[in-house]
Subunit: 245 residues, 6 copies
């Protein structure tokens, strides 16, 4: 088994450079531009004073997400979903994943009857857009919660733990952390892992794009993912220290 | 940690009774009614002499799936998707999963430029509809392939391995195999596993519905799933011996 | 004029074998699988504690129906309406017919402000799906009403008469009862008749697919239809004697 | 049984005043404004040099129809279907009926590979819009065919017989010809009949809106309808004598 | 610069013959057929006792418009928007323009919490449909207001000024008033102007279809438009004198 | 008439600070972030080797545009159009305007049978998004054309002149250049002007949001707009000197 050579000489277990820009836009209660290498996702958190029908009168809030990709975020232009008149299955799958991931670290009772609406829009895509979206959406959510606390609308944070996500995969037999687009296309197995600050899993989604994978390979991928997410959680923590927001 | 008591005294690591009825309807090239306890899914395989645009002229075929649920397959009536004018995100997620799972065991070159279209329609739901759908769709696909071989349209089977799927989950601290609806609602972690005859994974999708899960819990769930899928693969094999089709 | 030979040597004025399975699925208040030869339709009746806007506050209930066909219920696979994003004109025409037919034998005041929602889904099609649907939907509706009476939610049945339906047509000059698919395709005139237990018509829909029809032909078709519906009404009655539900 | 008094002292077996204006608009190959009393329908016939996919390469043509109602054609404003984003079931049912009725008097082979597209738009509604539409669409179709003959694009007319339609119904026990809106709302039974010049039926659609109807009542309604349609066929003939078009 | 010769020898600064028929249909509170030459638009005004959400509880009313074109209003048949399932961008642009134009001359407070819904449907098109629609919609609106005043539902008219509209354009260097279709197609610059009785502008929309236009050309076009609109305002005034409505 | 005080003490005839960032994203053939104060629009130009049906075989190319706004680009979150399933009338109006504006400065013959697809997505909105979009789209289009020239796919530029756009309006009697959101909401008249490098108009769209405007006011607004657009054209020119792209 030979080792796959990554662009820029990146190590198999290395993240791409991560950049987190809080307060990227001015209107949203939380607004974060997150970059994993060339992948750039704008995550905004909006606080709405209403909840969906299934939560009405429950005293609980709701956390939900929507995902989109600008038509030319990719190598070749994709159709604009608004013009086509519907969101693709892929888009819906991703936004449901982001919503579940964030709800896993929210105490909806403490949030009160309001909705935290997370919008994750991909400005530029190079693999890993859903994991960047989850990692960035958490920061935007935290900023929105901080504002509610500062304004006295909340007395206690509804956030129970941080959460972040990364992709891992096996390319030509080599397990790699944080796949970029060309690696994603070439990989046999692709896994997205969402993990909390406590090191517990919220989601593990492994898919054999080519040859099915073994239990041993799965364990190697989970090890890599845990390493990467710990680094992302640390980067999230550092971004909050920089109190420019 | 006390042990959760299952309906009918079912053991934590036991499948529900599985019934496989091949040739359930007369028109389709493959037609299987599969039952996991009260869950009943009709899986049909249709052979179409055309391929989607992305495969045209490639010499390769395609395998795809659609999933639906009759409005009153469930405890309370759900909206009819055809009347609402769109498929839900859940429906699209499931049918994409079924399609990927089946493609993982097909050699598309050997299939030739034709499409195998799998329709999985839930007649009655009691948890595990997507895993029953995958397990049944494989049988319907095999029947359709057998017909193509018998008619001389194929000289070699494009199927490389059988595939089956099961759900596992942790309910009140107890890992359970093959969740029924009430268990699915109560579980903290829910995992769907798709595995081939060779014991390799095609998909592993673990989701924390409540408390996030640990690596140890994940391993116990994978053990359970492997056990269940091996039993399903054996039931598939047995269904083919009964040459009533 | 020679006589058309039917499959299985069926007489021109004979129904196909009819099978009625009550309690076919477990969740619905009424659930009936009805088979006219190879045509198989699952009819469920759901009781909903709300009425459409036009009946709100009227003290009256509503009876409505939806119709669907599984994609591979037919010889060649049809598009899934949920995936296409709309119901065809044919589907809407049939579900409106089923709804009107059932409302004709309901006293909506006695039903109270609730909706009886009938879902008729074709599992396998071989002609006559709409007439099987009406005939089966009546049984499902009766079962749902019986349950409301047994639970004390109704004190008096809102059903005023039974209702059933059959197709008739002229094929190569011969009037035939209960057309199967190949006869339906070949017929010059096709008529669907819906009749009550009292022998009165709820709907008569005659269509010249080829040569227009005369008054004399129409009368012969109505005679045939009356004969067939009387037999169906008797089969409905017998199905209620068998109290397995 | 007392006799129902009609507006304007109209006899039970009398049509409303019928006005036929050929050449009502200038662009269409055939363009007819037809009025049955206050009901006004604009019927245009467009000749298109293409056929739908199911007729391609068959050497045969196609005749099809679309129906619409202006939002304020009725007493209270109805939603605009284009704004709602879909045609109602009623609209689709009516346009399918118009299309079948016209195809019944066309020899599609003689039409050649072209489509005759009939648009029937209700400018003002007072009952009987679908029967006025069929009666007017025939005239528009004849005008379009005449133009094709005059231009030498056809050498022989594809029209085999004229066709017209009328509604009949039983209101308070009295069978009435050509129902206006208030009668339509009050009637127990409503029947639409489409008949050719030869006196044969193309469509008979009887519906019990209230009490189901007997065979005797049905015969009385058919007698009335035949009388009315013979008068409409004569009016169509007369309109062609007036060669203003 | 040569002068463009118009059909029928019309002068460059002349309107086409304008015909205004009030009370064209019977159900609407205001109903006007307006004709600019061959262009014919039916404008109805409906009074609805409700307002859109953004006006609820404000004590103010609303004025809105919808626009449509019959499929064969044009030289070649256009798709029916209701059948296609959506309104074109052009349709939406025009109906928004009509709504804004009418609201500019309404005092919404005086209208009270009701909606005046204007429907403008093009029966025949030959250029200038949007300007005919605005000019006719004002008359329909005035008729509906007059009825509300006569019925005592309003004590003071909410209309503050009349409004009318015309198109102007430059064809082969010649500024023309009230473009018909062939001129519209040939023109370099096309401008639609909406003006009130006081001679003030509500909308000025100039578009270079070919060569961009200069400030001087724009002024010549505005002069022409002012002249034409003053004539239309006079024709509106005269139509109200003819108290047939 | 008192003078309206603008935020930051901006002069009535001053543009907001304009920032142009070429090469903002990496995949598109042209990619420009343009900022008018807080308004930020990402404009990408994609070169596609196909043309829409109406241009096929003409030897000519096509230039078209789509416009979108991120849900939280605004003060309060707007619905995501892709989720609602259709683009608003406003969106369609704007993207049609952008497309027309760019086509006005393109020689489609020289472009050859390819499409230049401009996507304008609003990242942050503070008034003037459509004028920023047009101004930025021109730069993106120029960059894409430069690449085609550099690659030898074009031998001559199809661009005939630069184009830019600005909004002007009257707020409390004061004509203002380049309205920001709070000014836009407060203004009586709002005008968008699109002008070429030669100083000719491509579009002039004036709308009275409150009181209709006079010819004198219109002229003052056009003067202001011309001044602003000349400055924007100069900024475009300068951006091309900075050959970082």
């Amino acid at each position: 088994m030979t080792t796959f050579i990554r662009s820029g000489g990146r190590a198999a277990d290395a993240l791409r450079p991560v950049r987190i820009t809080r307060g990227y836009t001015i209107h949203a209660e939380g607004s974060v531009l997150i970059e994993f290498g060339h992948t750039r996702v704008l995550c905004t958190a909006s606080v709405l004073d209403k909840v969906p029908p299934h939560q009405k009168g429950s005293g609980e809030g709701w956390v939900t997400a929507e995902y989109g990709m600008l038509p030319r975020a990719t190598h070749t232009r994709g159709d604009r979903e608004a013009a086509r008149g519907k969101q693709s299955g892929r888009t819906q799958e991703i936004q449901r994943l982001i919503g579940r991931s964030l709800r896993a670290v929210f105490d909806l009772k403490r949030l009160g009857e309001r909705t935290l609406h997370l919008d994750c829009d991909v400005i530029q895509a190079d693999g890993g857009t859903r994991t960047a979206a989850i990692t960035g959406a958490f920061i935007a959510a935290q900023d929105a919660v901080n504002r509610l606390l500062a304004e006295g609308k909340l007395t206690e944070s509804p956030i129970t733990d941080p959460v972040a996500a990364i992709s891992v995969g096996i390319v030509e037999g080599t397990p790699l952390l944080d796949l970029e687009y060309t690696e994603d296309v070439a990989c046999d197995t692709d896994m997205n892992v969402v993990m909390t600050g406590a090191g517990h899993f919220v989601e593990v989604q492994g898919t054999a794009e080519g040859v099915p994978f073994t239990r041993v390979e799965m364990n190697r991928l989970l090890d890599l993912a845990e390493k990467g997410i710990r680094e992302l959680l640390e980067l999230q923590r550092m971004s909050f220290k920089n109190e420019s927001n």
